[in-house]
């Protein structure tokens, strides 16, 4: 069944997003999107023993862009980086009880930002 508007969960995360902010000297940093398209997300992670111990985000975008960012940080926190990198856009949408069809692609970039942050962490580790 097609949904009307956003789910209750999306609105909860939009109004009270979890893990908002910046981590100074993060172990990994990912940024996706483009202000021209109306969505920019950045994710900062702290990693200890391959586990994501802290995660923060900042987002410019619509309701679902903010809610998916909040949700992906919840899903990733405490996970092993190899587990966290498996989190998909679909997982994020499911955990939010779905997104309106036209939002599935454009405003569901949060998982991509997380993947970028983890890749950044792995690159930095290799260079050490």
């Amino acid at each position: 069944m097609a949904t009307v508007g956003y789910s209750k969960k999306v609105m909860e995360h939009f109004l009270n997003p979890h893990n908002v902010g910046v981590i100074e000297n993060p172990d990994g940093y990912g940024k996706v999107g483009n202000p021209v398209c109306g969505d920019v997300m950045e994710i900062f992670i702290k990693v200890k023993d391959e586990k994501i111990t802290d995660i923060k985000f900042r987002t410019f975008g619509c309701g679902s862009a903010i809610a998916t960012s909040s949700m992906v940080t919840d899903l990733a926190k405490g996970k092993h980086v190899d587990e966290a990198i498996k989190i998909t856009r679909g997982d994020v949408a499911n955990e939010l009880d779905g997104l309106p069809a036209q939002k599935m692609h454009c405003s569901n970039l949060a998982a991509d930002a997380l993947h970028e942050a983890i890749k950044d962490y792995k690159n930095k580790k290799q260079q050490k």
Binding site: V20, D39, G61, C62
Partner: protein
Amino acid sequence: MSRIYLDHASAMPVDPQVFEFAKPYLMQSFGNPSSLHSVGLEAKRAVEDSRRKIAEFIHAENESTILFTGSATEANNLAVKGTALRNITQGKAVVASAIEHMSVLNPMKELQKNGFIYTSLPVDSTGMVDLKKLETILSKNMVLTSIMYANNEIGTIEPIREVSKLVHEKGVYLHVDAVAAAGRIPIDVQKDGIDLLTLSSNDLYGPQGAGVLYVKPGVRIQSVQLGGGQERGLRSGTENVFAIAGMGEAARIMQQEMKQESSRLLPIRDSLIKEILKIDQSYLTGHPTRRLPHHASFRFSYIEGESILLNMDMFEIQVSTGSACSSKTLEPSHVLLAIGLKHEEAHGSMVLTLGRSTIMDDVEPVSKATYETVERLRKLSPMSQEWRK
């Protein structure tokens, strides 16, 4: 906290007097106006009575200039396609301002696909059409120019009389979409020099489901919807008698109240603008003075409009936005791009349209909610970082 509805450009409540007036046409005088029996004639009378009221509302020559349609979108389609196709022997060039409603622009683009030459007339940063440019565009083989009376997203009122003079020097037809302006500022199709004019019922506190196309006597158009030949054969389809009767009554009441209501809303609108522009990096969109009395539109840097709309709704305040994320096409508003905003600027827009329910006491909670909304979203935004430093 009670609701503060500031999205009258999107939808308006039906005036209770209008509803009472039109109600009998749903269940008692429900006849088909084309039926010759008494039940049909009652409905027919309601349609003709409404036609007369609408003609008075825009000071038309006579009531047979008024064609009822199912919506303003349909009236715009009929105006653009019906006029261009009927007068194809005169020429195949058409022009519309860059900030017209999609129901004008998309039919224009369709004409272009079918061999017409379509030119988009630019506007300046306040949304005013470029008259000098119009003069150079107009040519002998031009059949139709479409310029709106006032814009629904930025509130700018266009110089229709000057446009009309230019257009008629070349002998081409002028269509004016007056959906946003009607009932807010006086419209006189004869003095203004308008050949075709679009109106919407709901934008006058009438029921949804009725629109009007005024066609000046002698202006030739053809139908774009074929059928049983209603509305002089120019718009077939059984009339929505309830909506049409309501629209006429709504127009009559609007005409009576317009002057008083507009001067009541003007100081409320000005206070809203003054208070909201106190927010850092906030800007008025549209013309600062030549704007509709019930219209206040803004943009805020570093944030996005759909988030603004959702956040304001949490304060029980309903607003509108030209952001891409809130549109079906996921494109930012063509109006905001036409006045020269960058994509990222066009995303952060908020439109307030006032109505009969709006009072001066709304200004404080609305400005406060706007301030809090903008603050909260900027704290979330990676783009405001640099600016704060």
